[in-house]
Structure formats: structure tokens, C-alpha cells
Symmetry: C2
Subunit: 234 residues, 2 copies
Amino acid sequence: MSRLDRSLISGLPLFQGLTADNLDRVVGKARSQRVPKGQAIFEQDAEAHAFFLLLDGHVRVVKSTPEGQDVIVRYISPGELIGIARALGRTTYPASAVAAVDCIVLAWPSALWSEFAATFPAFGAHTYKTVGSRLQDAHTLVVEMSTEQVDQRVAHALLKLIAQSGKKTDDGVLIDFPISRQDIAEMTGTTLHTVSRLMTAWEEKGLVRSGRQKVAVTDPRRLRQIAEAHAGKE
Amino acid sequence: MSRLDRSLISGLPLFQGLTADNLDRVVGKARSQRVPKGQAIFEQDAEAHAFFLLLDGHVRVVKSTPEGQDVIVRYISPGELIGIARALGRTTYPASAVAAVDCIVLAWPSALWSEFAATFPAFGAHTYKTVGSRLQDAHTLVVEMSTEQVDQRVAHALLKLIAQSGKKTDDGVLIDFPISRQDIAEMTGTTLHTVSRLMTAWEEKGLVRSGRQKVAVTDPRRLRQIAEAHAGKE
DNA sequence: CGTCCATTTGATCAGGGTCAAGACGAGTGG
DNA sequence: CCACTCGTCTTGACCCTGATCAAATGGACG
């Protein structure tokens, strides 16, 4: 394994304001890890021995019910922390984190979190801000799940995905990692069948272009119309 | 208005470890406020000028959609903080807080939050733990909304309510504040009609006793069976 | 070339939303 | 003290969205 370098993390807002020396100390305590596509970084209900920083790739956070149904709570992009359960007073992970593509993560023992937070104010502040916005997101999702029809929820999900991980191509804005109908269904509380029907309908109208584990949005404007109100249906 | 006394807050875990002197300082900066039933403590999207501690009463946190539908995100019990948006990097309140009964709250200007957190470590730590568990709750709710049938969601909602604000009576465990069918519908993403039908069905089976803005659970065990699995339906 | 998985598409049907009407109390004003 | 009104709750009838069941198609990859 190659030696870890502070340049890996020096650009991140999370570590803003740290000296080169401090960055070295932080990186020095991390273990880097390659996680192949489909593998879990950590599992729901397991002991939260570490927290992670996603350096490269995309991760989905999944909660599973006792009955075996999965719900995708959110996707994680490079530069974000995951597995900070411990920082919030939990001893186990409340969800699983699965690599959507091959990923690179840095891992620190959970115990270090409070040390980092105490030593580097920006680190603590940024984390709490992150948690705060995740709480907002979760509440927004609850509202969507409570009040919207399936087509609106799927439209919203796609818009969030391209906002977070969109990549411009000739086909429009492409979601930058493999995502199946099943995945979208698990984000929106519906079935892969319904998602499939929606996608083909939207494809015919020219709103999206999609294929096997691939979705691109060609007309975000009209997709947003579907997401926003049900008045705009035709 | 009577003089504020440190005894109001001395028992709370939030202020654990503060000296009598410190408690006086904290209370001294607060303004106490009586909020009549039905009135808002703060409104969604308004400037977050203050954060609040609920001393007495019950508050529901409501998010409203642009289309005018309301979703009840959670209920707040005495001793809990509300309106801590500012602490999480927001400048406006993400939801409204409405008094479910006549309430007493303490209010501090938002700017004081960071001062308190810096000066009294227990205060900051407790808040973040609170935010963490609210994030958990929100995710749990998302999972429930995604995977459960209406009867399960309503059963879960009632169980949470009696766990949080249950009061033992001859009729079973009573929810300690007025709550309508409409309220329960807004917690569970359904309509008051469906809630009404469920309640009468459960009343006939002897699971609950309910009336106008009043719900008591007489058989939590069987209610939990409904909430848990759909295998147990008959 | 064969196997596996993602996807598509059709047919069916039920959970629960919508529409409509009424009953039941609780508070208000005469 | 009673009549009235308003808000909550109940209940029936109907129908639509989207789940379920079933099967076929089509790439991707070994």
C-alpha cells in the first residue's frame, strides 16, 4: 500500500484551517481501504468501531427492515463522512453503507472522533452542520413520502441524484454511477415495476434517457414540473 | 411576570454540571413566554431569531408543503429544545412549532447558542446527541413510510405517542394531550377517514378507547403485533 | 454460447383515497 | 336554559393508483 499523503484531504472543507502538520497527524492515524463495488463498508447494527471519509466512488446508505426490505436513505459523494453514528451517541451503525462502485475510503477508529472535534474546531463544526443538513433532508423525505404520488417521488429522487452526482453528457445529465430500477424503487418506496413503467413513459416524452443501470435526465425542467405539482400533468 | 428562577431548569440533563451561578446566568438571559393552545411558537421559513426550551405542555412540529398539506414531524415533550435550526447552520426555521395545549417556554436569542455551547460543554454535547437521535427517528420514519401499510404506520404512531407522553388511566394508557384523527393522519401520511375507520375497528377489538381528541391504548401488546408484522393479521 | 440479471410489459386486483352525508358533542349567545 | 353553530368524528359508496403475479426480452459477461 502506498504511503498516505496529506494532499488526499487538504482540499476538503472538513479540514479547512488545519496546518500541514495537523493534516499529517490526521492522515497518519487513518487507514486507507479499497472497497470493491457491491461490498459493505459497514453493516447495520454492527459495533461502530470506526468512521470513514469517502475519498473516491459512490456509496449508498441502506436501512433494512426485519422483514428484509431495503430502503436507500441517501447516497454519499466523495469528501463526505460516513459512519459517524458514534459521534451522535450511538454505539452501533444505524444503517449499512454499500459501495455503488469501487471506492476508496479513509477509516479512523471511532475513539478519535472526539479527539479531532476537540482539537480542530472546524472539524466538529463541519460535522454538525452536515448532520443538521442530513436531518433536514430526512424530514424533507418524510414529507415527500407522506404527501406525494409515486411519479412525483421518483422525479424528485432523480433530480436530487443529478444535483448531487450529475455529469453532463450528450444524452443530458447522467447519474454518475450505476443505478438500477430496483435502487430507485428503494429510494422512493415503490416497486421496480412501477419505476420501469415511469422511465419508459418519460423516455417516450423525451425527459430521460436510460438503460441498464444507467439514467440520464435530458429535460430537467419538465421533470421538475412533474415533481413539483400534480396540476401540471397532462 | 414573575421572576425567572434557576430551579426551572436545574433538573434537566441539558444543563447538567452547571453551577448555581451558571444556571442563573443562563436563565437570566432567557425570556419566558406563555403560548396558548393552537398558537405557533415559531413559523416555518421565518427568520430563526431564537431557540426555545419547552418547560410545560406539548408541541407539535409541522412542516407544510407549498400545496398546503401539513405533515407532523414529531411531538415535543417538556424539557426538550426546539428551534435549534440556527445551531445546525440554518438561518430560518425548517418547520413550524404549534402548541398542542397551553405551553410555557423559555426563549433565548439564537446568537447565544454558540456561546452556551462553548461555555458549557454539557450543553453542546447534549444538543448534538438530541439532534443525532432525531436524525435516527427521522430515518426510522422514512423506512416506515416506505415499507409499511397504513394500519402498521398508525399503530406505530400510537405506540410512539404513548411511549413519549403516555399516562396510565383506568382506560389504559392515555395520550396526554388532545389529538385528533386529523393529527394522526398527518403523522402517518393518510387521511382522517382511514384513521377513523381503523380506530373504530380497534375499539371493537378492545385495543384502544378513543373519543373526541382523545386516544387511550388498552392493549399495547396486540397493537404492537399489528405494528410489527402483517403476518399477525386475522 | 450459455447463464444470469436487469428490464419490460401485460393482466389483475385490492388498499385506501375521494366524495358525500350525517351524527355527535361542546361551546356560544340570546 | 335552550337553540344554534362549528368542528370532530363516523360511515357508506365508488373508483383509481400502484402493488402483485406472471412471463418474456435483452444485454453483459464468463
